[in-house]
Symmetry: C2
Amino acid sequence: MKYSDACRQQIEEVLTSIVKNRQPEGLYKPVEYILSIGGKRIRPMLCMLGCALYDKSKVDQCLYPAVGLELFHNFTLLHDDIMDASEMRRNKPTVHIKWDDRTAILSGDAMMILAYQMVTRAPAGNLPKVLELFNRTAIEVCEGQQYDMYFESRMDISGDEYLEMIRLKTAVLLGACLQTGAIIGGASDQASEALYKFGCDAGMAFQLQDDWLDVYGDEEKFGKPIGGDIVINKKTFLLITAYNSLPEAARKELLYWLEKKDFDRQDKIDAVRNLYDDAKVSDTARLLMDQYYSRALEHLEYAGGTDEIRLELKEFAYQMMDRFR
Amino acid sequence: MKYSDACRQQIEEVLTSIVKNRQPEGLYKPVEYILSIGGKRIRPMLCMLGCALYDKSKVDQCLYPAVGLELFHNFTLLHDDIMDASEMRRNKPTVHIKWDDRTAILSGDAMMILAYQMVTRAPAGNLPKVLELFNRTAIEVCEGQQYDMYFESRMDISGDEYLEMIRLKTAVLLGACLQTGAIIGGASDQASEALYKFGCDAGMAFQLQDDWLDVYGDEEKFGKPIGGDIVINKKTFLLITAYNSLPEAARKELLYWLEKKDFDRQDKIDAVRNLYDDAKVSDTARLLMDQYYSRALEHLEYAGGTDEIRLELKEFAYQMMDRFR
């Protein structure tokens, strides 16, 4: 059994115990629900691996902060689903659909506080550093969501703006999970920051891959229908890059598809993919992904720690990237 | 100048500096807005007074946690306004009206994180205790809001349930503000807990008074039209007590007015007030208020500290209660 598998079991146990039978039900049932519909628990696992990389004997001390990071992630899902009016998550109705908006708002609030409650259980000596990182990251995730919402109504988004948005919305939390573990594991500042960068860059590569897979992926491997982002005009790296690099006429055609209200799903996907091909956005995205991926691995080497866990983290990053190979 | 006046000035300065010119605007402008529309800053002031009661030289160290408590309070107002669909606050449009729901949700989230960021600036040695208190209180405030929303659709609420709701929704935060200051001021556990109880009980008395003033208050002194709670069927201590104590026929009349859709505002206020009078709820409420008030003062004596600041806290409680004398 890999080290991370043992961690995952502990995480699941704490997660299910947090709100069990807690009153008032109206506040805690939605929390229980969103935690029960799954998720790979990548973030708490990274936190515990980040600790184990430097000191396995301290991993117990980062179990609660690790769970706190997973709670925070699920809080963002819960509130994002209201803001994005998403009706389904992991094939289940979202909280604001199963209950209502006000219940989803308040349960999300409670979940963020529960997250803080768990993170606060970090060893007292590490608490200022752990919380400073957590606070900074949490506010960055909100900023990322704000940029994401703002992009919905804009077309003049540069590639850099998009990358900054996904860095804030997705990547920094992965970095923070690893660094939290590293801090509790007693890593030096340089090492824990290198591990943070490993997580951030791997997260960037992963998110770019997600955009890429939606268009160029293998439907079975990807796990959802191809072209979903194209159908809903999601501002992905591919769309933004194509829009910014296509010549005038092709850009107009792209806009035509973005504005068209009645269309055949497959027609739109095919037409937009053709424009993406003209703009060679697949190559651009893959090149960038590879850059982030190799940079992530460089940071990982620099982070030091034990070979056993570093190998596991390397494998983890490799598996994340393997979906499109 | 009273000690609290100097505190208030410092609080205002930090509050206005927190989100000034911060990007993205869409996230921080609503925060700036809700902080700018006023409020008496009672909570941060209580925090600083709670510290000064034991050690004036440490009050600087609780300025940021004090501001964090005010941010948290304003975060709850922002999200409560969405949940309660309130359109106005302090004579200004609420955030979700001036912007929209999703903006109000996300700005509220950011505000809670900013609150934690400020509270985290408590001296490292006090941090575990301060945060444990803050976490517990924050989750209690959410529980209180959940009970309050739940009560909207129920009539079978006991007086005790109502008191527990206002304790959670309003009183505990006042207690926590004082105790946070006391902890940073170096008070003993017994003293800081006594101060917490002073704040809680004063808060209970204050909230009961607020219910009472809506019906029996002097319009000019109260600052808003009399009978507002009656018109919207707000579940106040008076309504719940009357409903639970009136004989069958009178209770039916009360229900008649609660269910009536078309009515003359003054007719409803007069009719319901007559029923309140029959049930003698004014006496019941005033008796309970006085009990909480005297208990609060007992706790304050027990909390010790310097005479100067204890007197100021006593005066503060007296002024809060003076509105109905």
